[in-house]
């Protein structure tokens, strides 16, 4: 019987230890804390048929990736000088939008991702540069530490584009639909040829009771 005790005791301990397996930690699958902030890349609580933050984030990201995959723009040596601003990017649609939201985001995303594969000319800052150059050349200020050049940088390619729309209204229900087409084109600034094109389109319909400002 002493032998029986010696056998059963360790067995009992082993059996109990076997039951104590590592617990599975399930997710606390509940909603997060309420906040006024929203993800700019997703539809928000206030939605209409106009161009919204998720559309701008999506279209600029798509164009940026497409341009960086294009060897004419991103595979040249030396890197091409590119102008991306809203000067030749026109809004002909019925949507109220600040075009700079699109062109600024596109330029900044491209510049950050290109990492030298494209060089961006800040043509919208040209008057700022001209003033400083005048001050330097008049002797009012010294020449700075970088270098001096004969002129500001000229561009090789420049962004042009258009926002267009087609609206439809059901007077019975008040439902409005808007098809919007945003085109992006990169133009050779010597030849005038279009070396790259991109298009982004969307159609939304809703009771148009949202006011865009």
């Amino acid at each position: 019987m002493k032998i029986l005790t010696l056998i059963t005791t360790p067995l009992a301990i082993l059996a109990m230890a076997g039951c104590a397996s590592a617990p599975y930690n399930p997710a606390n699958n509940t909603a997060g804390r309420a906040t006024v902030y929203e993800d700019v890349r997703s539809s928000g609580r206030v939605q209409g048929i106009g161009i919204e933050s998720q559309d701008i984030a999506s279209m600029t990201d798509k164009m940026m990736r497409d341009m960086l995959a294009n060897p004419i723009l991103a595979g040249r040596s030396p890197s091409p000088r590119i102008i991306v601003d809203s000067e030749y990017f026109r809004n002909e649609s019925s949507s109220r939008i600040n075009k700079n939201l699109i062109t600024d985001r596109l330029r900044i995303d491209l510049n950050r991702a290109a990492n030298g594969r494209m060089v961006f000319v800040g043509r919208h800052f040209s008057d700022m540069v001209a003033k400083e150059r005048d001050l330097k050349r008049s002797g009012m200020v010294d020449g700075g530490t970088i270098r001096s050049t004969a002129a500001q940088a000229g561009g090789d390619f420049r962004l042009g584009g258009r926002i267009a729309s087609l609206d439809a209204l059901d007077p019975n229900s008040g439902t409005q639909s808007r098809w919007q087409q945003i085109t992006f084109e990169m133009v050779d600034l010597e030849l005038g040829t279009i070396v790259w094109s991109g298009i982004y389109e969307m159609k939304k319909s809703a009771q148009n009771d949202i006011i865009y400002r």
């Binding site: 002493k2 029986l4 995303d109 991702a113």
Partner: protein, 148 residues
Amino acid sequence: MIRQLPLTLCLCSIVTAGCVQTPIIEGALPGQRISDARAPNATMHMNRVVIIDRNLQTEQSSKLAVERAGSSSNPTGTMKVFATIRNRTTFPQQIEARVQFFDSGQIPVEGPSPWQRIYLDAQSIGNYVTSSARADVAHYYVEIREAR
């Protein structure tokens, strides 16, 4: 000796129970990594298309099938990723996809990208195609959810 057996077992249980101490919750909690054979999808697998929306797919049923997925190189050295998704339902579906890119050390180098909307007609296929912005990319991870 037979009389000693229940006593031994009882003592053994008490000793074992005494070892189970209630943990004290204090201080910041480290982030968890779930590694459990019973939850094989609880970890992230590189170069995969995943459906993150339970409205689209559960363990028992799914509205979508990921028919093809893969990557190739663009002429500029960036990575092109594609996924072909089939709508298994007889209803049109709108889904959204996004990608994150990682380098050879599985360090995130880009993303997540904004959601791109994909329109799927009933029983039809749709494609998600995108490219990385950088050339030093080795892995991708595509997420799909129901459009909102």
